[in-house]
């Protein structure tokens, strides 16, 4: 199902009609130079022409934050709203008009701090919007306070001695909140990011894509381990449906299950082979949770890719059905009769 276009009512356009430039608005992009946000913008603009959505059917919604400026730079409909509420406003738009393709760009503060509640309720309702979380583990726009994804002990403007709180893991949280599509990517890996954006779009229901995004002003290098040439291969695990979990330089390592525990094994020295490895299944929620918890263990690589992609009816779809059925089953659709109610009387 997830391989199918998610909104049949959207008229397809010839995909050759658009180029990425068609999605760039006339506004100057106002991010710091070097900011990871540029990459996400570029990949979205590059991916869209291949998705067959008409420009006028696209709506980008955002809260407040550096990443939340995103809609201004897209030549589509856009709404830059208030801090933390992008998901509710997007929900309102989508429920009001399911024919639109609704996207949310949000930050770790916007989505997970002030907006955490809406995030979780959007996921469980499975409203068919596409959420891109720009996770830079910092509050960019307000100049460098720690965020709910900042690591424990992180020094920031508002934690000069280090934070005393434990971060939220966006993928685990989304799993616990009944998300139906959960994926993760990195600003510095444009190809993977484009693929993930596409998958995000293709899933019917709330799609959640976390993008690790470097804030080179207030939290530079937060993801260096996963983006530096020397370290990234040994620290990033690309997960793919039905494929064994291999990674590392020359794909020499893999993930094996040892009872309940995932361990890294070397598949280059003959002791283990690819056949011993855990094969990923993006329909398996428990497995997704196991992988999302890799972050608790520094011995394990960080997984990116589609953690979960399962089917469930969407909120707005069921609502439309409920309305259609109510209309169909009604023997009286007269509003005048509604006004009259069931116990009116006549005065002559």
């Amino acid at each position: 199902m997830s391989e199918v276009k998610n909104n049949n009512t959207l008229e397809k356009v010839n995909t050759t009609e658009y180029t990425s430039k068609d999605f760039a608005s006339d506004q100057d992009v106002r991010w710091c130079s070097g900011c990871g946000d540029y990459s996400v913008l570029a990949q979205v603009q590059r991916t869209l022409p291949n998705l067959g959505i008409k420009k006028e059917d696209l709506v980008f919604v955002a809260g407040i934050g550096c990443s939340s400026r995103f809609p201004y730079y897209m030549d589509t409909y856009g709404y830059h709203t208030i801090h933390g509420r992008a998901n509710t406003i997007a929900s309102g738009i989508k429920v009001a008009n399911p024919e639109l393709s609704v996207w949310v760009s949000t930050g770790d503060g916007d989505c997970l701090s002030i907006g955490g509640n809406h995030f979780l309720h959007t996921l469980r309702r499975n409203i068919d919007i596409n959420i891109i979380l720009f996770n830079n583990q910092i509050y960019g726009l307000t100049k460098g306070q720690y965020s709910p994804t900042s690591f424990h002990g992180q020094i920031s403007k508002s934690s000069p001695l280090g934070t005393v709180e434990y971060p939220v893991n966006p993928v685990s949280l989304a799993l616990g909140a009944e998300g139906t599509f959960i994926a993760k990517s990195i600003d510095r890996d444009p190809k993977h990011l484009m693929e993930m954006i596409k998958r995000t779009y293709l899933h019917k229901g709330t799609s959640f894509l976390e993008v690790l995004q470097n804030c080179n002003i207030f939290n530079d290098g937060a993801f260096a381990l996963y983006t530096d040439k020397e370290t990234k291969e040994d620290n990033v695990l690309y997960i793919e449906h039905n494929k064994p979990l291999v990674f590392g330089k020359n794909m020499s390592k893999g993930i094996k299950l040892d009872g309940w525990k995932a361990v890294v094994v070397d598949i280059s020295n003959g002791k283990y082979s690819v056949d011993d490895l855990l094969v990923y299944d993006e329909k398996n929620k428990e497995l997704a949770f196991l992988l999302s918890e890799f972050s608790e263990n520094p011995a394990l690589p960080m997984p990116v890719g589609v953690f979960l992609d399962i089917e469930r009816a969407t909120y707005e779809g069921e609502l439309e059905d409920q309305i259609a059925n109510a209309k169909k089953n009604a023997d009286d659709l007269s509003v005048d009769n509604l006004f009259k109610g069931t116990s009116s009387w006549e005065i002559k």
Binding site: S25, Q27, K54, K55, E56, D57, L58, V59, V61, I64, P71, Y72, M74, D75, T76, Y77, G78, Y79, H80, T81, I82, R85, T88, I89, A90, S91, G92, I93, K94, V95, A96, N97, E99, L100, N117, H118, H121, L319, Q322, I323, A326, K327, N329, A330, L333, V335, D336, L338, F339, K340, G341, S343, S344, W345, E346, I347, K348
Partner: protein, 633 residues
């Protein structure tokens, strides 16, 4: 009485032969009666009151109701704070209130007697359920002696009736549990009152049939009990007099009773129909506003979308999203929820999107008195946001007026591309009155124009009403971006330009101020000038109208004006006010409208505050009027 048989398909144990006995109580015609049903929260008083008022209404009387119940779902039986009451005032004249003093009190237990007897007229009728006056209940109500027996109720006509026993008796052959059987006792009391006021229980019989459709034993039990209560007057001959209240002279047409909350729900449907927009309500349950969400969630077949949000912030912001998408967005709430919507309203103001916000006010501050009425959110509605953030504020004055004013709110929201706040309150929201049912065709059209032509399109260009264009996403060539940062005049781009900000702040204010050109003048009931004007807004309407009518009937020179538009106020308001020497402003707050009058017209008005969770009595306002007309100054 014969017609009763036709509506009664069930065998009845009640001996109907007594029916034609010689006993014939005197039938006295009265103009105006107030009855209060009071009992435990679990005694079904709200239901009893509703049934009675529906029946009364169908006889063509004008009426007003006042439900009054505790914030607990079911407070423990017999306690003072667990008492639930429902007052019905009906009349052969036009009336405006649920009545000041009662003619009849039905007290289902001692606690109900204790908390309500003070409002019973001298010489009024008290119907008490003697079975509930046992030692435990007397103690819980704080009675040392049984008031039914100690002579303390001499000023009233007391009818002590073993209601519970009679109820159980009449259905004892049915094999129902005692608990279930006793639950029917409110219908016995209702039957007695129907008889007393010469009203057939027919309406309630049908209601019982419908309600218990799938439980025939309950149909039978409740019907029997109601009938037994009804015949009790005949059989026992304890009442010397029956009463009759002639129908009021109402314009001809179809009528129904309606509460303010239901009227809001219907008014929203009406506005959606007349504007051709889809209605979207984003809301979070809260007393006493939840019914608006509940009614609308039942209107799926009319295409209504309701979204029960995770909180009030999501309630308003989903509605804003829906408006952005081209629907009529609305959100309903009460006090604490209104507080949470503050930031969202600001977004709607700067985004200039239509949005209807309904605040069914309740007692505050904070959680306050959730089930009680109050009018203390007026200044919040007008000034309670960060920044210069103007929003039109309207107020409904009666349950029926809720229909008209929500329709008007939607009209203004759409025409001016602005959020609009409608203030209702727990009194008119939950209270009900007869409504001469409106037809869609009688209502004015609301024109919602969506911009579709890309030619020269600017998101913040303005029409003659200073409204910006509304564009439905999905419209080709009109892709654009809006948001909560200050925007450049006309283009809508982000702008930090100092001059532009000043222009925009003034533009937004002017747009709202200009609405004064588009609303009716403030009407005066009574002379257009004189010594005293009683100025009100919102649900004090009934009490003020009654008081002024009564006082004028006594020849006193006093007039009444009622503001339905609080921001902006009608253009003639200043002129109206300046025609009077004194202005009395009764409010269920500490004088919020007097503050607005000072701001707008530098006029000193006299606040008359009642912040008790209960509406004004007409008599309270009358005393105040008399006092003011007496004093020299």
């Amino acid at each position: 009485m014969e017609e009763d048989k036709s509506v009664l398909p069930l065998p009845l144990k009640v001996n109907t032969s007594k029916h034609s006995s010689n006993f014939k109580p005197e039938i006295k015609s009265v103009a105006d009666v107030t009855i209060r049903f009071a009992g435990d929260s679990g005694d079904g008083m709200q239901l009893t009151g509703t049934q009675f008022s529906d029946t009364i209404a169908s006889y063509g009387n004008d009426l007003g109701t006042l439900p009054n119940y505790p914030a607990e779902i079911r407070a423990p039986a017999g306690t003072l704070y667990g008492v639930s009451g429902f007052q019905v005032h009906f009349s052969s004249r036009d009336i405006y209130t649920p009545g000041d003093e009662m003619d009849v009190l039905v007290a289902m237990n001692p606690a109900a007697l204790k908390t309500n007897i003070k409002d019973l007229k001298k010489g009024g009728i008290l119907i008490a359920n003697t079975d509930a006056f046992d030692s435990k209940n007397l103690r819980l109500a704080g009675y040392e002696n049984n008031p039914l027996e100690d002579g303390s109720l001499q000023e009233f006509i007391v009818h002590a009736i073993p209601i519970t026993k009679s109820t159980v008796e009449v259905i004892k052959d049915m094999g129902l549990s005692i608990k279930v059987a006793e639950k029917c006792k409110n219908f016995f009391a209702l039957g007695v009152v129907y008889w007393l006021y010469s009203r057939s229980p027919e309406h309630t019989f049908s209601w019982i049939q419908e309600k218990f459709e799938s439980k025939p034993e309950l149909i039978e039990a409740n019907t029997r009990v109601l009938k037994a209560g009804y015949y009790y007057g005949d059989i026992t001959e304890i009442f010397a007099t029956r009463y009759e209240v002639k129908p009021a002279e109402l314009p001809s047409g179809a009528y129904r009773t309606i509460s303010g909350n239901e009227a809001v729900a219907l008014g929203l449907v009406a506005a959606a129909e007349k504007s051709g927009l889809q209605l979207f309500l984003g809301s979070y349950p809260i007393t006493p506003a939840s019914e608006i969400l509940q009614y609308l969630s039942g209107y799926r077949k009319y295409g209504v979308k309701t979204f029960q949000a995770e909180d009030e912030i999501a309630g308003i912001t989903t509605a804003i999203g829906a408006s952005f998408a081209g629907s009529l967005g609305a959100t309903s709430t009460s006090g604490p929820g209104m507080a949470l919507k503050t930031e969202g309203i600001g977004l709607a103001v700067i985004s200039e999107l239509p949005l209807v916000i309904i605040n069914v006010q309740r007692g505050g501050p904070s959680t306050g008195l959730p089930t009680k009425m109050e009018q203390a959110d007026l200044l919040q509605a007008i000034y309670g946001r960060n920044g210069e953030c103007p929003v039109p504020v309207l107020a409904a004055s009666t349950p029926v007026d809720c229909f008209d004013m929500i329709f008007e709110s939607a009209r203004i929201a759409i025409k001016y591309m602005t959020p609009v706040i409608l203030l209702s309150d727990g009194y008119i929201g939950v209270g009900s009155e007869p409504w001469k049912v409106k037809k869609l065709s009688e209502l004015p059209d609301i024109t919602a124009v969506f911009k579709t032509d890309p030619e020269g399109f600017q998101p913040y260009s303005r029409d003659e009403f200073l409204a910006r264009p509304w564009v439905k996403p999905g419209t080709k060539g009109l892709e654009h971006r809006i948001g909560g940062l200050e925007k450049q005049n006309i283009t809508g781009n982000i702008s930090y330009d100092p001059e532009n900000h000043h222009i925009m702040v003034k533009l937004r204010a002017k747009k709202v101020r200009n609405i004064a050109n588009d609303i009716p003048d403030l009407d005066v009931t009574g002379d257009p000038s004189g010594k005293l004007l009683v100025l009100g807004w919102g649900s004090t309407y009934g009490a003020i109208a009654s008081a002024v009518e009564n006082q004028r009937a006594k020849g006193r020179k006093v007039s009444h004006a009622h503001l339905k538009y609080l921001h902006p106020m009608p253009k003639n308001t200043g002129k109206v006010l300046k025609n009077f020497k004194k202005i009395l402003v009764p409010e269920m707050n500490l004088g919020q409208l007097t503050k607005l009058i000072a701001i707008e017209y530098l006029i000193d008005s006299i606040p008359f505050s009642k912040v008790k969770g209960l509406p004004f009595k007409a008599s309270e306002i009358e005393s105040k009027i008399e006092e003011l007309l007496k004093t020299k100054d």
